[in-house]
Symmetry: C2
Subunit: 354 residues, 2 copies
DNA sequence: CTTTTATTTGAGAGCGCTCTCAATTAGAAA
DNA sequence: TTTCTAATTGAGAGCGCTCTCAAATAAAAG
């Protein structure tokens, strides 16, 4: 199978390179008879256009990049990124693009990656998952005006197109749920290095405000979305005797659960717990976690759609898309006083009205 | 920041395009004085070569593709792919390549993807994760002689470069461990749609053979690596009253655990269980899983290294790299009769000698 | 100082495609 | 039929880089 070019296909069909190009790209204004003849040659020879040559000539690679910065080490433990990537991949396939994956492991790799992306013409645009406050990626992209869509939120949100889930409302719902259940000492395990963490704390605070309660700072501990950090944060909270805890990620909730188990505290009898994400671990946990479900895959899909719009020159009116989330009630919050096993598969969910 | 070309940099430095190209690519035979002058211009202007143009001219894109076929739906629940991808990403970064991710969701997308990859010059080579017996990808690649490395095993293993972990030995170790612990009715939850599943069953059989035992077919159930399938397989096995079960993936083991719990069977007192993979779920489980640890990330890294060798024209002597695995003993097998909590973080492991 | 040889540079031909523009052909109008 | 317009096709100039080959320069040898 030697290399076929437009030129050769043209020769075979008795037309010029330009005409073949038109057929390949579905242009109008071609005599049906010619089009057919060319198409036949293409089918018979199995000709495929060289994407690199096409990209070079058209100044459009149809490759978009997905950047996962070094901060996101949770890539291993957390199904979040796989889910997101899945959605992005679906978007990419739908739009006939190619996805380039840039996973950065260290700060210096970060620098190298930025350079290799910017100004090399390789990607038309980017999807960036940076949720880290101290991130250098975004400003760099802005400076080189590389088209991109951010997943999550950043300090530069106003100048940026972004897709996010409604973290504030999510946490608000989770916390309100605990409040409405009558819990008195509702702790939280938050994070403070990223924007989604801030938002989730805001939701927690909002619910407290609505109930005329004030936040007891001793009932606030911090983690980094990792399992271990949830464990340690929970150990830190236990002496404060909370009767409920809102953990801002399921993975951390799993860690917290272990800490509680160690402390011989029963969930939800001694202490209720609500997570965030509704990823598989939430169901695998014992008891199953009441948690906030967010449409992660859809987030990825919409990010691609948004980027495509931007690249096509007709950027979306709004700079942000914020997707609704919902509360999924399972056993861990004590609303349903049953054995986890019995409630397996059964899920009560309160849809959100935005 | 307008577009800089070799030509312009050359003009600025008072040399020809060719000379600049030589500097950029680190060729010898350049007067140090000139090299310096050119380099200075490059630094000052921030020139970056256009990768597409380079690829077109050199017939080498330095992009390699990672193909995750539609069969691998476990992408969500299983940290396997994230881990593997991490390793591949590291390899890619190390070798100054770019990674293109092809995630296929349906059979028809599969077809489309193959076409868009083959003969378009976009990727220099591929890493394929197909472990599915009925896969069409491999033969297609072979036909178009696209360089690739397979992760896992396939029906075409002899004609293919591949990197794999030692599934046979892994299962052998797991099963032998249970046998040596004196269990009498050792069941297994296997899989039968993929090659790694076959290998794992072989290891199970090998251990039985070594102990002069024969396999009771009623103690063999099948799953598909998914959590639910483990649950159902276990339910199917329970009536056969096994006193131990070797589950060929941690994820399925989690499902099995739930089935056992439902049946009021205590682990490991009533029934011992050993998993496979040693991914985070193994530690999160209660009791923590005795399991087989395999170097997944390294698998990905080595796959890239192998592919790079192939592309450089000096293919590795051996067609396969099989990485060693090890048994990690935790609470679920009954070898360590302790509360899972007490053994948390403590891990006894028997290194494998291949 | 000339001749030979090795080093260093530049010119130029592609890589395979897109896209503009002009030429050709067909169709409509006169 | 002739004229004008619109539809259809081809020629050719790039896109920015690599790479061969020959020219130019410098160094070594005679």
């Amino acid at each position: 199978m030697k290399k076929l070019t437009l030129e050769e296909v043209g020769k075979l069909a008795g037309v010029s390179r330009a005409t073949v190009s038109r057929v390949v790209n579905g242009y109008p204004h071609i005599r049906p008879e010619i089009r057919e003849r060319v198409q036949r040659v293409i089918d018979e020879t199995g000709y495929r256009p060289n994407l690199l040559a096409r990209s070079l000539a058209s100044d459009r690679s149809n490759i978009i990049g997905l950047v996962i910065p070094s901060g996101a080490q949770a890539v291993f433990t957390d199904p979040y990124f796989p889910c997101l990537t899945q959605g992005i991949a679906r978007g990419v396939n739908t739009n006939n693009l190619t996805l380039a994956l840039f996973m950065v492991h260290s700060e210096q790799e970060e620098e190298r990656t930025i350079l290799s992306i910017l100004g090399t013409g390789l990607v038309d645009g980017l999807i960036v998952t940076s949720d880290n406050k101290g991130d250098v990626f975004i400003p760099e992209l802005l400076k080189h005006d590389m088209p991109f869509v951010q997943i999550g939120r950043s300090l530069y949100s106003n100048q940026v197109y972004r897709v996010d889930t409604d973290n504030v409302t999510g946490s608000y719902l989770a916390t309100k749920h605990l409040l409405s259940l009558g819990y008195q000492r509702i702790a939280t395990i938050a994070t403070n290095r990223n924007c989604s963490g801030d938002d989730r704390f805001t939701g927690y605070a909002n619910a407290f405000a609505e109930y005329g309660r004030t936040i007891d700072r001793r009932l606030v501990a911090y983690g980094d979305y990792g399992l271990e950090s949830g464990y340690h944060a929970m150990r830190q909270l236990i002496p404060q005797r909370p009767d409920a805890v809102f953990v801002t990620s399921d993975t951390m909730a799993l860690g917290a659960l272990r800490a509680l188990q160690e402390a011989q505290l029963r969930v939800p009898d001694d202490i209720a717990i609500v997570g965030y994400d509704d990823l598989p671990p939430a169901v695998q946990a014992n008891p199953q976690l009441t948690t906030i479900r967010q449409p992660i895959e859809q987030t990825g899909f919409l990010a691609v759609a948004t980027l495509v719009k931007i690249l096509s020159g007709e950027p979306p009116e709004s700079h942000e898309i914020v997707l609704p989330v919902e509360l999924v009630v399972r056993a861990s919050c004590g609303a349903v006083r049953m054995n986890a096993v019995e409630t397996a598969g059964q899920t009560v969910s309160y849809p959100v009205n935005p």
